[in-house]
């Protein structure tokens, strides 16, 4: 199903929750809303579901204006962060509930519930139990099964994995795109975690303070952010940045170094920001074109296979993410390098400067 927002905004009293937004979701795939807490993910989903009415603008399902259509009349399923099930019903009845509302015959209900419970690994034994007797992972599987069995055209998943253990999250995250891929449903998935967006793939809209900053195929948005806010929002560990001055043909760095890149030779003089991801900052120089940087170690975090070295370089605080174990002590001075091709250049407005 296609879903389109035309200049949709939402104000609650004087407070803007969603700035005027135009967005056309990609049908039949995962559409990820990525942004920090209070960036408008849930507000957007409530507008999609019809739980809230927009203050301005129009919403279209398959080209039909549904702006005024209430939630019951839209074919939508939603799964929340908290595990929400009917506590007094068995798991089977929980999953069957939307089908009973539709008035389907029992034999068909049995068949459909059987099919989705198998997909979600809810065994016959678990189907007879009450939700409270299940683990968190199984409770959320029940809620997902109910969303799946309804065969809704639009499925809204609002941080559904956040209350689960790390490993369970990993498992369900891997299953989710496949569960919905055969149903033809358009899925919207909200998350605060850049890694989760990358693992789920599909399309991503990055959000910040009620605004969609960019929308496109997930990996394209990650590899090619068009502004500083998107690059920052879609980076974990956080994006490293430094201010530079364009003077003549070169950029002057804070440490008096020079950065010459043919690609940017003709951009106007002025102040710019270079952004680069922590894993692109390297401890050992590899080729001539690299940008040389130095810094002082603040603290090193080691995860067993990777090192996160927090550094201070002039007024900047950076993280260097290296493969392998590099136990650098606080106070150590390190020389680092960075390849120009891994740098994003932003102007003083925060817009990305590409080739000129």
């Amino acid at each position: 199903m296609t879903l389109e927002f035309q200049s949709v905004s939402k104000k609650v009293f004087e407070e803007t929750h969603i700035a005027p937004t135009s967005l056309k979701l990609e049908p039949e795939v995962f559409n990820i809303l990525l942004g920090p807490t209070l960036s408008g993910k849930t507000s957007l989903m409530r507008l999609m579901a019809g739980l809230d009415k927009p203050s301005t603008g129009k919403i279209f399902f398959e080209g039909v204006d549904v702006t005024k259509l209430p939630v019951q009349k839209r074919n939508v399923a939603m799964v929340y962060q908290q595990f929400i099930n009917f506590p007094n019903m068995s798991v089977f009845d929980n999953i069957a509930s939307p089908l009973r509302v539709q008035g389907l015959p029992e034999t068909e209900i049995k068949m459909k519930v059987g099919k989705v419970s198998e997909l979600l690994k809810l065994t016959t034994f678990l189907l007879q139990r009450r939700p409270a007797e299940l683990s968190g992972g199984q409770q959320q599987r029940t809620a997902l099964a109910r969303a799946l069995v309804k065969e809704a055209e639009l499925v809204l998943l609002d941080e559904p994995l956040v209350n689960l253990d790390y490993k369970l999250r990993e498992e369900l995250r891997e299953e989710l795109p496949h569960l919905f891929s055969d149903t033809g449903a358009t899925v919207v998935y909200a998350t605060t975690e850049p890694m989760e967006a990358l693992l789920l793939g599909g399309f991503t809209a990055t959000l910040r303070e009620g605004e969609v900053t960019q929308f496109g195929p997930t990996h394209q948005v990650f590899k090619n952010p068009l502004d500083l806010e998107t690059a920052k929002g879609f980076s974990d560990p956080p994006l490293n940045t430094m201010q530079v001055e364009k003077n003549g043909k070169s950029f002057l760095l804070e440490n008096q170094g020079k950065w010459d890149v043919a690609q940017y030779a003709s951009v106007p003089e002025g102040t710019y920001t270079i952004g680069f991801r922590p894993h692109h900052l390297q401890l050992h120089a590899t080729d001539e074109n690299n940008l040389k940087l130095s810094g002082e170690v603040l603290v090193t975090e080691i995860s067993g296979s990777e090192s996160f070295i927090h550094l201070k370089s002039g007024n900047n605080r950076w993280v260097l993410h290296a493969h392998g174990i590099h136990n650098l002590q606080p106070g150590t001075n390190v020389e680092m390098c960075l390849s120009s091709s891994n740098c994003f250049l932003f102007d003083s407005e925060g817009n990305r400067v590409t080739d000129i």
Binding site: G136, S303, G304, S305
Partner: protein, 364 residues
């Protein structure tokens, strides 16, 4: 600032929530031995229900263990109530007095102890500086964001001069990813400066491994392995640890042993030295992390089911002889379009017998 921290030792602790436990299944904790040396940073890592929080409650004195002893600096405190143990705790959700200012929140535990006014001011000022809260000292706590409130919870522990151990129960759950990095490194920096004894409970491996000097991995009420982050990563003693740590976790592939070397799907796997034989009916598996499998034209053939691109690296989801395996491919390394062959790094190839590491015989 002076802190008196203690060594915390758990000796053969078992705990059941039932009054008359009957058999080991009734126990939430079984025979836990764990020593947290003075000034060390420890993490308890495991899935929900593995007993992590039960241990915290036993250390803090909220629970009295069914069996075993709790020692603080060698002194048996098993029967001491919480208020005699001098523990600071930070919970999943920030606990602050919303109507008080940040300053009064930090001063509160010291006022309760009737500390001298000037001394209180000095300590509050120091702690606020450490946590970068100086500018918000006179703001109401209710106006702060989740990470600011969590800093206050931490500060209320730091400000006390009498704390034996600081305990953290999933303290970053409600914090956004960007701020998690900031708070975590702050905590690590503070630990390096002041050497508190710290115990940190989490199900998140990245948090546990980056925070702690030593991590205790728990599973169903037992401590399976205690080790440094790189020990747990490179040499898990049990397949559960291999699976739980790493993302994706360790590949586990059924094998047999022929002349001391594992045979997997018809391929002889290289090891630094041969392994001793096992009983014929024992279950054997190779444990190899995705990071230690390399694309190698000289290696053995695998079927590629799918490639997941995570931006910084890719994971090949492959199949060989009916077993699934994940292969880590760093940025910049090309994946051949057909005839994908891999090899295992012998130094990092482990063999497990009935789930436990099958050790090489050390030369005498």
């Amino acid at each position: 600032m002076v802190h008196t921290m203690a060594e915390i030792s758990l000796q053969n602790i078992s705990h059941s929530y039932q009054r008359l436990p009957n058999g080991s299944a009734d126990y939430a904790l079984r025979n836990v031995d764990l020593t947290c040396r003075k000034g060390g940073a420890y993490a308890l890592l495991g899935p929900s229900g593995c007993g992590k929080t039960t241990i915290l409650n036993i250390v803090s004195g909220l629970l009295m263990p069914t069996d075993g002893k709790v020692l603080f600096d060698g002194e048996d405190v098993t029967t001491h109530p919480p208020d005699q143990r001098n523990i600071a705790q930070v919970f999943q959700f920030p606990v602050v007095y919303d109507t008080m200012s940040v300053h009064d929140n930090l001063a509160f535990p010291l006022r309760n102890r009737n500390m001298d006014h000037l001394q209180i001011e000095e300590r509050v000022k120091d702690v606020a500086e450490m946590l970068e809260l100086t500018d918000s000292l006179h703001k109401k706590a209710s106006g702060l964001t989740a990470d600011g409130k969590q800093k206050i919870s931490l500060g209320r522990g730091l400000v006390r001069p009498d704390v034996n151990v600081m305990m953290f129960d999933e303290p970053l759950t409600v914090i956004d990813p960007h701020l998690k990095w900031e708070l975590r490194s702050k905590l690590k920096q503070l630990h390096r400066r002041f050497d508190f004894t710290m115990i940190y409970v989490t199900h998140d491996q990245t948090e546990a491994l980056t925070f702690a000097d030593e991590v205790a991995v728990m599973y169903e009420g037992e401590v399976v392995q205690v080790g440094t982050p790189d020990e747990l990563f490179e040499r898990p003693t049990h397949t559960f640890v291999g699976h739980f740590i790493g993302s994706p976790g360790m590949n586990l592939l059924p094998c047999t042993l022929v002349d001391g070397y594992p045979l997997f799907s018809g391929n002889r796997i290289q090891l630094p030295s041969p392994l001793p034989p096992v009983e014929p009916d024992q279950r054997l598996e190779i444990g190899i992390r995705p990071e230690f499998i390399k694309l190698d034209p000289e290696g053995f053939f695998v079927n590629v089911n799918r490639v997941d691109d995570v931006g910084r690296y890719r994971i090949i989801k492959a199949e060989c002889g009916g077993s699934l395996l994940n292969v880590y491919v760093p940025e910049g390394v090309a994946i051949p379009s057909e005839n994908v062959r891999v090899s295992f790094d012998p130094e990092h190839t482990q063999v497990y017998c009935e789930g436990w590491l099958h050790e090489r015989k050390e030369a005498a």
